[in-house]
């Protein structure tokens, strides 16, 4: 039995932590928050050079051909840094769509670009098949609206969950420059991300193979990716609250000496550490235990998003008045937790899936 990260994965985590501490400080994050596109182009180029963007892309397209656990390790660190930009949506979810469902032509066309950072993909997935609002005609022409599409503003293509005329899930790739694609940006609460509403008006797309099973797979990958980001963000909120409790003094003592704060911090850890194991397991299952993957993903998404929100909420409180300011950084994670909780299905939705997939 061996349930832990490998030396390579630990190294990857460490180097990601160091790189992002240097290149993705909260000052940099705030720059992206204030920008129109919501990303840090230089950082994106740099992580592409390091091979992050092609982490799961096959070697023949210039990727590192690593697995979802490696991806989860990177995403955790990005969550820790509240890294803005399309990485999660492009290099984890959209890349997976092309790897699994793309024609040879689509793979040729996009995977190299995703890997070297010159192309960006995103996804328009409704969290449950019942609410898919885009229709795919024969030959892959799309009509309808995809809402809450992350970083459509930067994307070259969108993987759209659509419904064919006979009611089947039809996964379709549409280029954003295609005629009939209209992108409108939404105003986000969490400014470390960008969302758009995308209208398709008889836009030409290319069908991906796999239908409903590809759709489910992308939801699972997305759920685990968000869970991994949440894991890192939660760790960051905890670290910030604990660090602050050691330096802020009231009543002539560091506030961390009061049991109220010790217990609050300990409760976060007690939520966090078992949740870390859920993320590892879910990421590993995506590659190695197909029969368990969906349920593990639902568990990770449900649990991580719930505890991330709670931890950031209490971390704000643990800072007192300063935690309520714009100037202090803790609200970045407080709001990112809100995004993570909603995007691709709430904890309640995923708990229901856990029950259903468990047969009860």
């Amino acid at each position: 039995m061996d349930f832990g990260l490998s030396d390579e994965q630990l190294q990857l985590k460490q180097s990601a932590r160091e790189l992002l501490a240097a290149e993705c400080s909260t000052a940099a994050v705030r720059k992206a928050m204030a920008s129109e596109d919501g990303t840090l182009p230089e950082l994106y180029r740099e992580i592409a050079k390091l091979g992050w963007t092609g982490l799961i892309v096959p070697e023949k397209f210039g990727g590192a051909a690593l697995g979802m656990l490696d991806m989860a390790v990177l995403l955790e660190e990005q969550g820790y840094a509240a890294m803005p930009g399309p990485f999660l949506f492009s290099s984890a979810v959209a890349a997976e769509a092309i790897i699994r469902g793309g024609s040879d032509e689509a793979r040729e066309k996009w995977l190299g670009g995703i890997a070297d950072g010159s192309a960006i993909g995103t996804v328009a997935l409704a969290e449950d098949a019942g609410s898919i609002a885009v229709v795919a005609k024969k030959g892959g022409r799309l009509s309808g609206r995809g809402i809450f599409v992350p970083y459509a503003n930067l994307a070259d293509f969108i993987v759209v969950a659509a419904r064919s005329e006979d009611g089947q899930v039809a996964m379709t790739l549409v280029e954003t420059k295609a005629a009939g694609v209209t992108i409108r940006m939404l105003k986000n609460l969490d400014l470390t991300r960008r969302l758009a509403a995308v209208d398709f008006d008889d836009a030409a797309g290319a069908s991906l193979s796999g239908g409903e099973s590809l759709y489910r797979r992308l939801l699972d990958v997305g759920a685990v990716a968000i869970a991994a980001d949440s894991l890192g963000g939660m760790q960051r909120a905890l670290d910030m609250a604990v660090d602050y409790s050691k330096v802020r003094e009231q009543f002539g003592k560091p506030i961390g000496s009061f049991q109220a704060l010790k217990h609050a911090a300990a409760e976060i850890v007690a939520d966090l550490e078992p949740a870390r194991s859920l993320v590892w397991y879910a990421a590993y299952a995506l590659d190695a235990i197909p029969s368990e993957a969906s349920r593990a993903a639902a568990m990770a998404k449900a649990r991580l998003c719930e505890v991330y929100s709670r931890a950031t909420d209490r971390a704000v409180l643990m800072h007192g008045g300063i935690g309520f300011t714009w100037e202090h950084d803790i609200h970045l994670w407080f709001k990112r937790a809100r995004f993570n909780e909603s995007y691709l299905g709430s904890p309640a939705y995923h708990r229901e899936r856990v029950a259903q997939l468990g047969g009860y």
Partner: protein, 395 residues
């Protein structure tokens, strides 16, 4: 026990309701505490309070000689309920009405009452609370803003922080250190400072909501007449606590929770989840019912306290929980609303697709601010345990 209001009270309620229906500003003030706080906004906010006052619906229980109507607290509570029910805009003069006014009525000199109370009612003078300092929040009594007596004036030097509304306030009720040698609780005085005095600098701070709600306030040799002392010199701590008592009851007010619950319920009815309204979702239904039970308990709890007040009984431990329970409950209500909105909770309040006019994202954040402001939940728990239950102090 008799839960009926008298006929006069019921008639009074209907009168208030009719007045509000007719007169509530239709736009431009918002229904929360936000607002863009420019001059025009300020004037509208003041005009609204003044109108309400002129109609006889502000501070009904205050003594007649200072502009009140000396009515029993039931009338005031009817007005409060109706204001909430009508989603009336927040009163710009709330700190004066809810915090300083009641304090002055108990602790002020006749001259102070005459001078300040009437203008609180009409919103001619807006007040802010100068308690917290950079080094003194939870440990308020450690405050260091210094006031030295020079002739018949205090000369004030130091800094306050998180001062809500200071950017548009005319006056501040302020805690200052007048005896640095004495034990910390015994060298504090409670004074009233005109915010337009030379030497005061107000620097707005941006809150996580993106709004400018609170401020840093700097004092550089600010001269304050000695007659602006409330209570005795160096005995301000007891006056400060009187104000805190009123503040905490205001922040934990049950009528606000009830209105938020109703709004949450309406939201949940309007949201479709899995082919049915969210209110029919077995899990969310439980959650809603649980919240309603807590809101109802606090509403009844407020009626009980109102009764005690009429009977002239001093509040005990049951009042110490108001701030803790009320503000955490309001934040839970807002958090539930964010969950109810599903994907739409990712939107900022000013996105055109934001549900319920964008009320909840702001409320979700602001309600957390109120879990902190007025003494954090941790501090409330300490007070309940130490002052209420007489458990040993750890500090």
């Amino acid at each position: 026990m008799d839960l009926n209001f008298t006929r006069e009270e019921e008639e009074f309620r209907l009168k208030v309701r009719a007045f509000l229906e007719e007169n509530i500003p239709k736009s431009g003030l918002g229904d929360g505490r936000e607002g863009n706080q420019d001059k025009a906004w300020l004037e509208r906010a003041k005009a609204w309070q003044r109108k309400l006052y002129e109609a006889g619906y502000v501070a009904l229980a205050w003594p007649k000689e200072f502009g009140g109507q000396a009515m029993d607290p039931v009338r005031q509570s009817i007005v409060n309920d109706e204001l909430v029910r009508a989603k009336a805009p927040y009163l710009i003069g709330s700190s004066g009405l809810g915090m300083l006014g009641p304090t002055l009525i108990s602790w002020g000199t006749e001259e102070q009452k005459k001078r300040y109370l009437p203008k609180i009612l009409t919103a001619e003078e807006i007040w802010c609370q100068g308690y917290s300092e950079p080094g003194s929040g939870s440990d308020l009594a450690s405050l260091r803003t210094r006031a030295e007596t020079v002739g018949d004036e205090f000369v004030v030097n130091g800094q306050k922080v998180w001062t809500s509304g200071a950017q548009y306030s005319d006056m501040m009720f302020c805690l200052v250190r007048t005896d640095p040698e004495a034990p910390k609780h015994r060298g504090i005085s409670y004074i009233l400072i005109n915010m337009h005095t030379p030497g005061i600098t107000v620097r707005p701070l941006v809150q996580m909501t993106g709004d400018r709600g609170f401020n840093e306030v700097f004092f550089d040799n600010v001269r304050v007449p000695r007659k602006n002392l409330v209570g005795k010199l160096n005995e301000g701590w007891i006056v400060a606590n009187a104000t805190l008592f009123h503040e905490r009851n205001m922040l934990g007010s049950a009528s606000g929770s009830e209105q938020r619950f109703n709004r949450l319920l309406a939201l949940a009815k309007s949201v479709n989840r899995g082919g049915r309204p969210l209110t029919k979702d077995p899990v969310f239904r439980q959650r809603l019912a649980d919240l309603e039970i807590k809101v109802q308990a606090m509403r009844l709890h407020a009626m009980r306290q109102l009764t005690d007040q009429i009977r002239g009984r001093n509040p005990g431990i049951e009042a110490m929980i108001n701030k803790l329970v009320g503000t955490e409950l309001n934040h839970d209500l807002a958090t539930a609303a964010m969950e109810a909105m599903g994907d739409c909770s990712m939107l900022a309040r000013d996105d055109e697709r934001a549900l319920d006019k964008g009320y909840w994202p702001y409320e979700w954040m602001f309600s957390l601010g109120l879990v902190i402001g007025g003494g954090t939940s941790h501090i409330q728990k300490n007070i309940i345990a130490e002052r209420g239950l007489k458990m040993p102090k750890s500090r």
